[in-house]
Symmetry: C2
């Protein structure tokens, strides 16, 4: 355990969703180190599965140059006080067109703790039922719903290049002892 | 597959390591969407293990408010053309004080593809030997080397809150069929 104290926190850029800047931290040995920091509102992600499929989406991710990224459903918080389970239910309905009878928190993690405070809570959703009207993605989401066969979970693990999706699918393979 | 064309790419902030700004992308339906983007130089991470242990580090991660984060060894590229395997070898020596006879690329992924181009290549390193002089972390790294028993891999998976480390340890549990 290495204690540090935040000496200054300087937001230098404000985007639509993110802020960026620098923080200075004083450590136990009295030295001060300055680091870049990106502030993020936090997010949830969901592994929705039934007896035959895990329900994935494909979408473009221009920030990382990807025309098609295979992912588990996910969404950002709009407000810091937004309830995570409510957000997870909304994203599952909007992106996949499903609701779920059982929800569990699997784990939570920082996507890239060295420079960003983005924290993701990973849910598992089972007991899936179709929502009336189906998926209703936002205008700026170009989503394709992909029901991926559980018998080829290893294929989905090989096919994704998204960190949170690797975590969700590797967890599911361990949970189900397959893939 | 949803094609888009990058219409503009506007760096609005330059940090020590990162840049941030906004990009506009035109999609097939002719609509244009603007997104925040963070540019990152890329990184490697390593799962080093022998018959008894996986070799981890604990370190403070002030950007995410963590006084102690359990992680697999990792490092950022200093230059875009830096060879990834050379970087992985250097980080294993500096952070853990080991070199390895066998190196494999396990997978590669984007930590958070919705807003950042950070791409991490995950290596496995086996056939470990001590480096003369031991670990030599940088001045601003406060690292503790943690040899974690393979028989309690599940405990390490529970103990970490770092995304890349979850990927590395869940992969190792699957590879070794334990945990």
């Amino acid at each position: 355990m290495t204690a540090f104290r935040t000496e200054s926190s300087d937001v230098q850029w404000q985007g639509r969703l993110l802020r960026a800047g620098q923080e200075a931290h004083r450590y136990e040995d009295d030295s001060v180190h300055i680091h870049d920091k990106v502030w993020h509102p936090g997010a949830i992600t969901v592994v929705p599965y039934d007896d035959r499929h895990v329900w994935l989406v494909r979408q473009p991710r221009p920030a990382s140059g990807l025309t098609s990224c295979l992912e588990i459903p996910a969404g950002k918080r709009d407000r810091a006080d937004e309830a995570l389970l409510d957000l997870a239910k909304r994203e599952l309905a909007e992106e996949i067109g499903k609701e779920a009878d059982e929800w569990r928190v699997v784990t939570s993690f920082y996507t890239t703790p060295g420079f960003c405070d983005e924290h993701i809570t990973l849910f598992a959703a089972t007991g899936l039922r179709d929502v009336d009207g189906g998926a209703t993605p936002d205008d700026d989401e170009y989503l394709e719903v992909v029901p991926w066969p559980l018998e080829d979970l290893a294929g989905a693990i090989d096919a994704t290049v998204d960190g949170k999706t690797l975590i969700g699918l590797l967890w599911l393979a361990r949970e189900l002892r397959r893939g």
